[in-house]
Symmetry: C2
Subunit: 383 residues, 2 copies
């Protein structure tokens, strides 16, 4: 069936045809922000489900540009792949269609977006452990180490996602380091940003991280794992929206989530040790999970001692990618509410901190040899 | 058309239907060794051409196992890709067919396989410069640095070559480091090989190189660039047989050819400085070509100073892969004539050297900071 954007009526008809609704009345509401996707919630009796349909364009800051519908297919593929090892941490996929570019998902109304919850001062006691487990299980399971390169290549070939990777490459690794139109730089911060642009040593390190992003096909990544891509309750955690999924470096998702835990501290400085403990827990849970799976795996990669060298190199990468994320969310196109909701003086001060910390993480990522050495570096950013 | 192996008669009929032959008599001879491919030479008047057809199995040491016909398609794709930047260094592709798994190539009868020529004591004054140029141009052109990640990913997605990569992974990086059935270890060499198997530091480094082979998607590689994959005259050079082509680390092909230049010295020790000079020339020509293209390329990877850090890391990889190749050809399934044609005592002595040099290159690849430092390491292997 050729692509057509659903309406509240047509989506109900379609879902009913699939046998997911009974005859009779069903309530339907479009609850998305309409920038990238339509999101419909359909309710009928005890049934409640979400239909997420990609739009063939992206709207950001009033601009609109075409964007591949393939991202919807990639998203549901990734959710299904993740659910093979951690079904508890992703929403159930109830249906999908490549042409119509939709995915039908279980409704997670009982959950809250973690960024929103953090802004309200909520805590999620299991979040860090769950995210660390998610990362350890999915990154390992989709790597060469789990079932060998033949199986990995079979998974990998489904994740040809050039357009969305291109967005990440530009917005994270390129535009923040030059005077690009896409940047959103506050006037008071401009001198700091110009210093960034003149820091050649930093730019070389960012280029290396960018090269790692485009060349290191280590595992299937979520690709956009910030606190807005995680639904949580105090008990449960669900990772959503892997439209940017692709084969990339182990450290990328880990770095992204570390950066966003740090961003949360800018809105709630008193929560900073809770957030830093979560950084520690995410890494330690990831490391433990990954190491366990690695050790259980068959030859031929299971050379004694190899994983002891692999894990620190993943941490270095993660620290570097955390630094890139701190910088790009501060000067680039997509700001974070943790900063943008602050009053002027605090916001500028904390954005400056984000730039300083980001720079430091990128440059010192090889010197920070363990997660225990990372936490003090994060803590020095007094806000 | 469904796959069927050609006969000398059917291949002539087929090629005539394609319009590549006139009516009338054409001579045809099967000149391959029949282990992996059929190779037909067809002559008619001034016309002489080669039809190379993949067989659906591989025969090695009397064993036969199924092997994908896709390798024929990959081979002609790679030849066509290489010819976009260095048409002078690959044979002309006159036709190809995916189902029938053949490629029609210009006949290079006037050329000699470099390994054969070297064994006879021949010299190819342009060989090293040509191979270095081939590597610099093709590795750059197919990388992210040439036209950006979007264009690179478009090329990359054609080179899904899991089965042939699997052969390389097993035969180069895995089997030589354990008591595998595929190894061919001379009795006199067994203690040396067992020492290799007990060298944990070496095995960790080999695992890292293997991981690089499967995860670093830097450029389109030939994948099997030894002196048997190069046709030459004193003037010209043609790279053939890229059936193993895939996206891998920049340093792999470079390392392979370095190893095989070293192997040549075992049969002709007096030629060793000629061969080592070729090692130097291959690298320096590669480096100069790659650097020039990199510097000419557009942003966003063209960060001043980045390429100065990239090139030494490529050299490290190349040295490591050279070491792996030295070892695997000495203990693994596929020996080289440069060693196998030697009398017993010399052969054992030089195989021992190959193992020692290979081990040293793998372990010391990060300490050898320039090609000038590599040559003395190679020269110390007095044979």
């Amino acid at each position: 069936m050729a692509y057509e954007a659903f309406t509240e009526q047509s989506v109900v008809d379609h879902v009913r045809q699939l046998g997911l609704l009974e005859e009779g009345i069903a309530e339907c509401e479009e609850i998305g922000d309409g920038n990238l996707n339509l999101v419909f919630r359909i309710r009928q009796g005890e049934t409640s489900l979400i239909v997420k349909q990609a739009l063939p364009y992206a709207k950001v800051v009033g601009e609109s540009w075409p964007l591949t519908l393939d991202r919807s297919w990639i998203e549901q593929l990734a959710l299904r792949e993740f659910s093979k090892v951690v079904p508890q941490f992703v929403p159930d996929v109830l249906g999908s269609d490549r042409e119509l570019a939709y995915t039908i998902l279980e409704d997670l109304s009982a959950f809250e977006i973690v960024r929103t919850g953090f802004l309200k001062g909520e805590s999620y006691p299991n979040l860090a452990r769950h995210v660390g487990t998610f990362l350890g299980e999915t990154l390992f399971a989709t790597s060469d180490y789990a079932n060998g390169p033949l199986v990995k290549k079979q998974i990998e070939k489904e994740y040809y996602n050039p357009e969305l990777c291109d967005i990440t490459e530009k917005l994270i690794f390129t535009d923040p380091y030059r005077d690009a139109d896409s940047n959103q730089i506050e006037a008071a911060l401009r001198p700091d940003v110009e210093q960034l642009w003149s820091d050649l040593a930093l730019k070389i390190e960012v280029t290396k991280l960018k090269v790692g992003f485009v060349t290191k096909h280590e595992a299937l990544l979520h690709g956009d794992l910030h606190t807005g891509s995680i639904f949580a309750t105090r008990q449960e955690t669900k990772i959503i929206d892997p439209e940017f999924a692709f084969y990339g470096p182990f450290g990328f998702d880990i770095g992204q989530i570390i950066a966003h835990l740090v961003f949360s501290t800018y809105a709630h400085p008193l929560k900073r040790f809770e957030r830093f403990t979560e950084v520690l827990t995410v890494w330690e849970t990831f490391e433990k999970t990954f190491r366990t799976r690695f050790t259980q795996a068959a030859e031929p990669f299971n050379t004694v001692g190899f994983v002891d060298e692999l894990l620190p190199s993943i941490l270095s990468d993660a620290i570097g990618y955390a630094g890139c994320e701190l910088i790009r969310r501060t000067v680039g196109l997509a700001g974070v509410a943790d900063l943008e909701t602050l009053p002027d003086d605090l916001r500028i001060e904390r954005k400056r901190h984000a730039l300083e910390l980001g720079t430091r993480l990128i440059k010192q990522r090889h010197q920070i040899q363990s997660i225990d050495q990372l936490i003090p570096v994060l803590s020095e950013v007094r806000v």
